[in-house]
């Protein structure tokens, strides 16, 4: 089974993010890490490969330092990595990103493409579906479990009220939720072996793409506005009626 996992390097979510006031883009010059959400996808891919044979290729579109995210995935157990890195790609919108990823993934070939539901920096959450569209395969999103029997992939798809049971044949694009599994830590041996695994860096011209990147972005960030501060909560002083007032409040909100 040929499994491709898309990964992204993002500013460390543990440190406060900053927007560049002129471009409205997230500043990426600080500490960057493999998107924690992507670790679940890598783990899901590795588990499928371990159970059914085959291997995992990680694909990332990023500046050159994005190689660190790929190296971590290789250290966790992925077999090979592809980095698409090109100055032209700076400022890419979601569709450009999806086109670049689709082109690289088509070159590799795949049975399953796994991504997170969204990145922990841009949060657009649309790249996976675009990717599926461009690859001409179904997208099954928000998977909270994956089971494959050799012909059919069975997915429990998280919804707001419960879950859907979805069955699909391959090839397919699947997005996985955080919590679908417990991502493994890279082992020392994995870390030390990561550098000797196949790794290639591609440019847009390698992929035969010219109309991608910031210059061709179809969407523009017009403004960035601070979220409205939430109203302070209501404080109930206990004058003997507090319990009833709290119960009434909860009942009104249909919580109880």
């Amino acid at each position: 089974m040929k499994i491709v996992v898309c990964v992204k390097q993002v500013p460390d979510p543990n440190t406060p993010g900053q927007l560049d006031p002129s471009t409205h883009r997230l500043r990426r010059d600080g500490e960057v890490v493999l998107d924690p959400g992507d670790e679940f996808g890598i783990e899901a891919g590795l588990q499928l490969a371990e159970a059914h044979g085959g291997d995992v290729t990680v694909v990332s579109m990023a500046p050159e330092r994005g190689v660190d995210a790929i190296r971590k995935a290789l250290a966790m157990g992925a077999a090979s990595g592809v980095l698409i890195s090109d100055p032209l790609l700076e400022g890419s919108d979601a569709l450009s990103t999806a086109r670049v990823l689709a082109a690289a993934i088509s070159r590799e070939g795949f049975d399953i493409v796994i991504t997170a539901t969204e990145s922990t920096d841009g949060y657009s959450g649309v790249v996976p579906q675009m990717l599926a569209g461009l690859l001409g395969v179904p997208a099954v999103t928000f998977a909270k479990s994956l089971k494959y029997d050799g012909t059919t992939l069975r997915v429990l798809r998280q919804t707001e009220t419960g879950h859907d049971r979805v069955e699909t044949s391959l090839p397919v694009v699947v997005t996985v939720t955080s919590g679908i599994n417990e991502p493994r830590y890279p082992s020392l041996r994995g870390i030390m072996g990561a550098k000797s695994k196949p790794f290639q860096t591609l440019t847009t011209s390698d992929l035969g793409l010219t109309d991608v990147g910031g210059a061709h972005a179809g969407e523009t960030m017009v403004a960035v506005v601070a979220a409205e501060e939430r109203q302070a909560g209501e404080i109930i002083e206990d004058d003997g009626t507090a319990a009833k007032r709290i119960v009434d409040f909860l009942a009104e909100k249909k919580v109880i």
């Binding site: 890490v33 660190d68 190296r71 971590k72 250290a75 493994r184 830590y185 890279p186 082992s187 020392l188 041996r189 994995g190 870390i191 030390m192 990561a194 550098k195």
Partner: protein, 403 residues
């Protein structure tokens, strides 16, 4: 990536962004990609798996057995050894891992130090091929835990005065005596025990359950509470000739093991120091005193500036030492200097951090007092501060002040 190596006038202009306050000289940048990923991985493991449980273990005086599998899967047990299921990592990588483990708790780092440097290392360095095959892969996988029995109740800094003896009875060795302050003692599946024989001090591998061999734990410790410390009792313990380490002759062998462990401690202490420093900085920024943050007082800033400086000094020492060690050129005196200097600075930082946290500093709500009391053990184990002082004194003057 290495700003220090270029000397063009261009590079002399000052930069506007300062590295993280726990690493003001950006020693992190001197790490390779592998070491950085090892650091991040161990740090994540400690944050996610160890920190949530360590306070409770410390308070209860119990060893976190539940972490052993995870530590083994990371590949940290015997990581600096080659072959037999060990990862063969650099000394630098081993140091980085020790720092991150001890940023969690000195007990965790002690567990890994004892397993890797004191129990696995002598088997790896002085064992027979059969011993290596039998013990090392199991120990690297965490399925077998080891301990190291050198110190006795009346033979600590002076191990040559040990009373534990072994003599031949036919093809077997009979070993009698006792060993004290043995980390991992009662949880160990195999003990590396050093005993006096007619041919000098020799090392023996004694399996758990061997008749006459028992271990009892030291209780009422107020330090390293999340670590097992035991006394080993050897009452005419009979082992076959194949349980003696063939290549270990004389005191040089166990001292070489200590040298390995001391190297890891010099890194580990920085982890404990860093955790205390971070805790103190954070606390000082949020704690209001006389209407303004504690961090805004000159007295606090003096303390924090001193801590930051000493952390930088410690980091530079360990980084250079690891470079020497990876080149096979680290002298035991250099290891003594690093162990002595870094444990002292860590203990000083922990105590100073405690004063910044005030009364909160004495509770387990914060990591500081835990690190501080742990470091009291680290100060005197694996060579007391005094012994390392004498080692340095002898190296500098040529005068032996031990006797």
């Amino acid at each position: 990536m290495h700003p220090m190596v270029t000397t063009s006038p261009q590079s002399r202009k000052s930069v506007s962004t300062l590295p993280n306050f726990t690493d003001l000289y950006a020693v992190d940048e001197l790490l390779g990609d592998d070491e950085r990923l090892i650091r991040d991985t161990v740090r994540a493991f400690v944050r996610k798996r160890a920190l949530p449980v360590i306070d409770e273990h410390f308070e209860a005086g119990t060893f976190p057995h539940e972490l052993v599998d995870g530590i083994a899967q990371l590949g940290l047990l015997g990581m600096h050894l080659d072959g037999y299921g060990c990862a063969g990592a650099s000394a630098l990588a081993y140091g980085v891992a020790c720092e991150e483990l001890e940023a969690g708790d000195s007990g965790l780092r002690s567990f890994v130090s004892v397993q890797g440097s004191l129990a696995m290392f002598p088997i790896w360095a002085y064992g027979s091929e059969e011993q290596k095959q039998r013990y090392l892969p199991e120990m690297a996988a965490g399925r077998m835990i080891g301990c190291f029995g050198l110190t006795e109740s009346d033979a600590g800094s002076d191990p040559a005065s040990m009373q534990t003896r072994a003599h031949l009875d036919g093809d077997d060795w009979i070993i009698s005596g006792s060993k004290m302050w043995i980390t991992n003692g009662s949880i160990a599946d195999v003990a590396v025990v050093w005993a006096r024989t007619e041919s000098g001090i020799r090392g023996f591998l004694i399996d758990k359950g061997t008749p006459g061999f028992t271990a009892s734990d030291v209780h009422r410790k107020l330090s390293l509470r999340a670590s097992v410390t035991s006394e080993l009792h050897l009452d005419s313990v009979r082992v076959s000739a194949g349980q003696m380490l063939p290549e270990a002759q004389g005191l040089r062998a166990p001292l070489s093991c200590l040298n390995e462990a001391r190297y890891g401690i010099s890194w580990g202490a920085l982890g404990a120091a860093r955790a205390c420093f971070e805790s103190a900085v954070e606390y000082s920024k949020t704690r209001l005193v006389f209407g303004k943050p504690l961090a805004g007082y000159q007295l606090t800033q003096l303390k924090l500036a001193e801590m930051a400086t000493r952390l930088v000094q410690g980091r530079l020492v360990t980084w250079r030492l690891s470079q020497l060690k990876d080149a096979g050129q680290a002298h035991p005196v250099q290891v003594s200097l690093a162990k002595r200097a870094n444990v002292r600075l860590a203990l000083d930082i922990a105590r100073e951090a405690r004063t910044i946290l005030g009364a909160n500093g004495i509770t387990l709500e914060y990591p500081v007092i835990r690190h501080m009391t742990n470091l009291e053990s680290v100060l005197t184990y694996e060579g007391t501060e005094e012994v390392h002082t004498l080692i340095l004194g002898k190296a500098i003057t040529g005068e032996d002040a031990f006797g």
